[in-house]
Point group: C2
Chain length 248, copies 2
């Protein structure tokens, strides 16, 4: 690439905003290192990086009446989805939800960094999804999947990327392995949640087999994540439809 | 069936213990009604029914250091999975986890009653799974899937059943529908969690399309749940392997 190209690429990255939603208790963990590497690499590129460190924030995962300030639209029967939809429109959601929605709204790319718990995200991160991605903000009915609200403009969705670690090995997460293809467990999160809200989904970054990995193997995984991030803005999103998950 | 058969069946059900793990905020909701119907029907059969009403209990979903009483085995770097495994063996888990483990241990059947949130369980229920089903109690390595610990005896697993409600219609949750076959989103919960722990999984009870259902349609769904529960102890578990989820 010549100097002019380099300049133009630097400029295009420079204004980018990245939100990392991070769900690990221990800063010295491998998830902590993956998060650190991402902050460093993306900052070096000139991106603005924000981290929502859910455990440090003691983020509330429970979806309750406390998420709505002031009166309910139906005080007789509490319906979480309806009340938060109404509260969103009236700007009556509780402040921790508003703050996360603001971060999502500003981000060009949202990276979710977490250890796989039961083929899914840890409860604290599930609570972030349940509470932050409410109707009115992230989608409407109609207004979901390719019409979901989390887009930068009519053509381009915000980007989302799952960076996760597993205890089990890569072999366990294959079609013939005991835990099935890893794409199977990505479906509810990537398609049912992120795509539903209009995100374009980048390929997941999976660091497999942490339970038995050597120091050397971990270094390789960290380096490959850092390397990937160097060209992350050039990546094409996956085709987030059933064939990607179930037929390849 | 003749009188002797009826007697023997009554006796076989009579001693059965059922745990309902219930994750809905509002008692007057449809989930509340499904839970009520199950308690009534199973009690009428002579079963002992226990309900863990997670929102009323304000159940803690976050997996943190607070789950271990006393000293950590490694105070330098906190690893949740390892620390809870050690704490389980030393009987040093916090009391709310122990209480739920005791209920699971005693149950012949565990029913999970919840509204589908983002193709999965609400965070409060995810937290129950993350915290209660810890290594040592629910599985070990090795000691998972068909060798998972939650069995009644060497041959027979405890039974588990997901009873859930969706906003979207049944048509949306088909292979050609926008949200894909409903079996796709069941994989992480039924296979990756319940089967992993040794449960035998009964077919799910899905009440679809609540967003637009009439009073009459809801009555039919409630009645069909009550009807199914009458013969629940005769049901064969599903074959919890990839073909059930992805190839039918």
């Amino acid at each position: 690439m010549d100097l002019r190209e380099m300049e133009s690429e630097y400029t295009s990255r420079k204004g980018k905003k990245v939100l990392i939603v991070y769900a690990q208790q221990e800063p010295m963990s491998f998830n902590g290192s993956l998060k650190k590497v991402a902050v460093e690499e993306l900052s070096k590129q000139g991106c603005t990086v924000t981290v929502s460190d859910l455990y440090t924030m003691n983020f509330e995962p429970r979806a309750t009446r406390n998420d709505i300030t002031g009166a309910l639209s139906n005080p007789e029967i509490f319906r979480y989805g309806i009340e938060t939809y109404e509260a969103y429109k009236k700007e009556a959601l509780t402040s921790d939800i508003l703050e996360e929605q603001r971060k999502v709204q500003e981000a060009d790319l949202v990276i979710f960094q977490f250890p796989l718990y039961w083929f899914s995200v840890p409860a604290i991160l599930k609570g972030w999804m349940d509470r932050v991605l409410c109707q009115g903000f992230a989608f409407d009915i109609p207004g979901f999947y390719d019409s979901g609200f989390l887009k930068v403009c009519a053509l381009e969705g915000k980007l989302a990327l799952l960076s996760l670690t597993t205890g089990g090995t890569a072999e366990m997460y294959t079609k013939s392995g005991v835990s099935g293809d890893f794409r199977y467990f990505l479906w509810p999160i990537q398609h049912g949640t992120l795509h539903f809200c209009g995100f374009k989904v980048l390929a997941p970054q999976i660091s497999f087999g942490l339970d038995d990995s050597s120091e050397e193997e971990r270094k390789v995984m960290l380096a490959s994540w850092a390397q990937r991030l160097k060209t992350i803005w050039k990546e094409e999103p996956i085709d987030c439809t059933p064939p990607w998950y179930f037929q390849e």
